[in-house]
């Protein structure tokens, strides 16, 4: 049942993802219209795709409202590893520019930001009309490594702090109440026990599960917390960012490989198949080692991103209606649109916990396969 639901969600997410992914090419001609107020500059046409893409991408500031120079946002630290070493400044120095038009000079180097990326800049405008420094072939120079504390990093820190506060409080409450779960502990303990008894124990085995419970618990609550953070109107999209899911999947892979026993490696390099099939099976098994975490990475990323895209698309319906039929139609559209958003948001609450659960469950399953004894 669960697997079916997941499969459906996955298909659903890929469908929406594919639909939306086609559009950026079409609109790349006027890609500078990615601001929400783009329709003012482009003959009253509202284009949902750049807006959605901007909302699900990482950013160097936490944007609250407004556009261009009127935008209200919290600046975040920009940390760059450049050819000349480390350079840091606040993202407010870009003055809300995101199109490569505002030069920032630091440590004898110049930078511009375009579409959320920071480039080396030159003093002269290039033929695209921005300051991105180009090489002889007309391509942008390789970018400085961007270790900025971006919106997603802030989201992760936020969840880190929240989880630490919650669970250290829970840990303390046991001492205080003599082992009786009360209040917050009463809410959190069933979740912890669920991960221990229904995820770790059955998949890893009664003898070896204990070692992995802290990892699985951290994984579950980290993903769930970030998924829920993504549903707040602030619009963090951390678990919908491929870098984050990649890190989690790679950690799962490392944990699996480190804990793998002889039996596991035997299955890969000497699979129990007739001799003639071995040359065929060994590469398949080796690929299988990597496809499992790869699927984890894609599943979480696609599900969460898809949820965000669906919600943003439904909100866009109001503005699309405004394009098509003026303010009256926009007002008329707002109620059905909000009802749909509400429905999808509730669904996303389920997806948030479901995806965290699936990621944790599959991780436990992979670890279980790696530590399984010969039978």
């Amino acid at each position: 049942m669960l697997r079916k639901t997941n499969l459906l969600l996955l298909l659903f997410s890929f469908a929406t993802f594919a639909l939306n992914a086609n559009n950026p090419e079409e609109h790349s001609d006027h890609s500078d219209s990615h601001e929400l107020n783009a329709h003012d500059e482009h003959g009253g046409k509202f284009d949902p795709v750049p807006m959605i893409m901007e909302h699900i991408s990482d950013a160097h500031e936490i944007h609250w409202w407004g556009h261009g120079h009127d935008a209200v946002s919290w600046p975040l630290p920009v940390i760059l590893w450049t050819n000349d070493g480390l350079v840091t400044f606040m993202s407010s120095e870009f003055h809300h520019d995101n199109e490569g038009k505002h030069l920032v000079e630091k440590g004898g180097q110049q930078f511009v930001r375009s579409h959320g990326k920071i480039y080396y800049a030159s003093n002269e405008l290039n033929k695209e009309g921005n300051y991105i420094a180009l090489n002889n072939e007309g391509e942008a120079l390789s970018k400085p490594l961007d270790f900025s504390i971006t919106k997603s990093v802030v989201g992760m820190f936020l969840i880190m702090i929240i989880l630490l506060l919650i669970f250290t409080a829970v840990a303390r409450s046991y001492k205080k109440n003599g082992g009786i779960p009360k209040r917050l502990t009463g809410w959190m303990e069933p979740l912890v026990i669920f991960i221990r008894d229904d995820v770790a124990k059955p998949n890893i085995g009664d003898k070896k599960y204990a070692k992995y419970v802290p990892f699985l618990l951290t994984l579950f609550f980290f993903i769930w917390g970030l998924n829920l953070l993504g549903l707040t109107p602030i619009g963090f999209n951390v678990t919908g960012n491929i870098a984050v899911t990649m890190v989690l999947a790679v950690i799962t892979l490392i944990v699996t490989l480190v804990s793998a026993n002889k039996n596991y490696w035997g299955h890969i390099f000497n699979p129990p198949v007739p001799g003639a099939l071995k040359p065929l099976m060994v590469p398949i098994e080796i690929v299988g080692v990597f496809t499992k975490p790869f699927a984890l990475m894609i599943r979480l990323f696609a599900n969460i991103t898809a949820g965000h895209i669906v919600i943003l698309s439904l909100i866009s319906l109001i503005f699309i209606a405004q394009n098509a039929g003026g303010d009256g139609l926009a007002w008329g559209m707002s109620l059905p649109s909000m009802l749909l958003v509400l429905f999808i948001s509730v669904l996303e609450l389920l997806v948030a916990v479901l995806q965290a659960y699936i990621f944790t469950l599959l991780t436990a399953l992979f670890i279980g396969m790696a530590v399984e004894e010969h039978h």
Partner: protein, 164 residues
Amino acid sequence: MDLVMPSVGLIFWATVSFVILLVLLRKFAWKPILTAVNAREESISKALESAEEAKKEMANLKSSNEKLLIEAREERDAMMKDAREIKAKLIEDAKTEASAQGEKMIAQAKEVIENEKKAAMAEIKSQVATLSIDIAEKVVKGNLSTDDKQKELINGLVEEVTLN
């Protein structure tokens, strides 16, 4: 395609965040929480076990009590039966003794009566004999005053003897 291109910075920070979170939570949250939960689960299972044991003990006690009760009841029944038997026997004995005594007394009485009767009879006999002799003396004195009468008597006697 930016969407599916992981950025270096975020990879770095995600790794750092997750690892720090894992280390901190493990030390300050998961270990104490799981220890507390395990300790509680153990104490619960121990409490349940001891409760089960107490229950068994109670059942044992109850059954032994019942056994005692049954034994006591049996003993009482046996004692009652014995008492009843003894009573019956006593009554029986008393009856036989009484009847024997009675018979004995009756026999003695009969003997005494018999003796008295015999003595009385003997006295009566002697009395009668004396009287008869007296009467006979007087009769004989009167009748045998003449010879005829003597003859008559002898004849009479002779007749009687012949008749006999």
